[in-house]
Symmetry: C2
Subunit: 254 residues, 2 copies
DNA sequence: CGTACTATTGACGCAGATCAAGTTCCGTGG
DNA sequence: CCACGGAACTTGATCTGCGTCAATAGTACG
């Protein structure tokens, strides 16, 4: 049960570096101690000091911020294998709220584990930095989209990114996936109103690129969608070789 | 000359942890090898593989992304002491372009230096993660602002953040600072048109909160500006104690 | 089988984009 | 020292993408 769930996390780390046996066992200590949360539960909230970090083992969650009058911006959707809240230990408090979008299973671990990792497993520590860099790249893409794209482009771009991330963990066979996001959440992720998001989804449907019926989303024309939304790729990065800690660039600077 | 410039970087790291002598000398190896770029020069570009990372020693730079038709989104402004491009080694390529907004001095270092840091100086490696987390927090704030705030709030919020960051490095005495950003750049940072940014600046000026004359910006009423733009703080985090690597939270999770 | 989400549709209004002329501010060279 | 040319900025007029409001209709679940 837990065995299958933590596969996603290890697969994610392994997409960055080839794990050695000792590293696999250390990584396992991050994905032990499973814990469940019901749909709607908050793992932690904006402004709160944080006691633990989590690996999301199964289910979906989202990270969002709110203004004092209630306006909300979804910063990102968290999928199985994603690390949650590791950055909030470094800052004094959580800068965003994380809530479960479906019933979820997470693995909780204490900051002390990260400390040990930095001291004993530098390669795993580097992969933490890598995950962080990846998150930041997603945020940058979203900011570009929200700041400079039309409603049509924003919606399309959002779903293309989601599709690619789900594909990586084998959750979008045949371009179709189960999507527990409501229109309101989608709207809050791309910075527009729910009403307009609804109308824009219909344009996408009518132009035969993307269909959403109930919780099922189907990508109808990926190539066109990527072209018309200026989708640039997932920025996953190259894999790390067996011995190396960081990527050795091909071009050497003086 | 270089001595004074690298103070900012060390001060920044030191705001996270108290550097030990060996750590200071290691950090110095990051700020050696200074190199100059003229205004407008690109350190690296979106899509390019990266050979080096940089510490910005003096001057301003910006990080931005563009869509294929030329629309531009500024992701952030880089100030003295900031780390530039460390994440791009982990991903295959730079996800944004970085250009100099003034003549700048940077210190260039090779990825191998980061590797050594992870192996020999875990506390410094952790501070790298901290800087990354801080960057991500800024990006999240910006996304909230661009996605959910009015033009007035966005402009105000942008300058309040800038003011606080400059204050930390002692570059905004008396609420006044030199700002080499053009209106067009400001507009591209907050996702609006230059014309509207211009009009909005005038509203801020007339309401006696913020004035911008030539390259000089003066914060006239910080408290009101922070309140009306829902500014939440800089998320700098607590300082690390002498022995510890990561923050030990006060509340212990099970 | 009602109560509460979630989504759709239409009407209307406005914040902010776009277009088009200026104007001011420089740095540069004559 | 002044004239010139190009940034950077301002101002006004007009337009439109998207927000807001409001009513309706599925859907899901207890």
């Amino acid at each position: 049960l837990n065995e299958r769930a933590d596969r996603h996390f290890r697969a994610k780390v392994a997409s960055f570096l080839t794990l050695r046996p000792d590293e696999i066992s250390f990584a396992a200590s991050l994905t032990g101690n499973p814990r469940e949360f019901p749909r709607g539960a908050a793992l932690f909230s904006q402004g709160m000091p944080l006691a633990s970090s989590y690996v999301l083992l199964s289910g979906w969650a989202m990270r969002f911020k709110t203004l004092t009058d209630g306006r909300r911006q979804v910063l990102g959707v968290l999928l199985p294998g994603d690390l949650v809240g590791s950055e909030a230990h470094l800052l004094a408090e959580a800068t965003a709220t994380v809530t479960a979008l479906t019933p979820i299973v997470v693995s909780e671990f204490r900051p002390a584990t990260i400390v040990r990792m930095f001291e004993e497993q530098p390669r795993l520590a580097a992969s933490l930095l890598w995950m962080n860099a990846r998150e930041e790249a997603f945020l940058g893409e979203r900011l570009l989209s929200v700041g400079r794209q039309s409603a049509f482009e924003r919606v399309g771009h959002f779903f293309v990114e989601l599709y690619h991330r789900l594909s990586l963990i084998g959750e979008a066979p045949g371009g179709e996936f189960d999507c527990p996001l409501t229109l309101e959440i989608i709207a809050d992720a791309i910075g527009m109103s729910m009403v307009h998001a609804s109308r824009t989804m219909q344009v996408l449907r009518k132009s035969r690129m993307l269909a959403r019926a109930g919780r099922t989303v189907r990508i109808l024309d990926l190539a066109r969608l990527e072209r018309e939304t200026d989708f640039a790729g997932l920025y996953l990065g190259r894999r790390l070789g067996d011995g190396e800690l960081f990527l050795q660039p091909k071009i050497d600077g003086a």
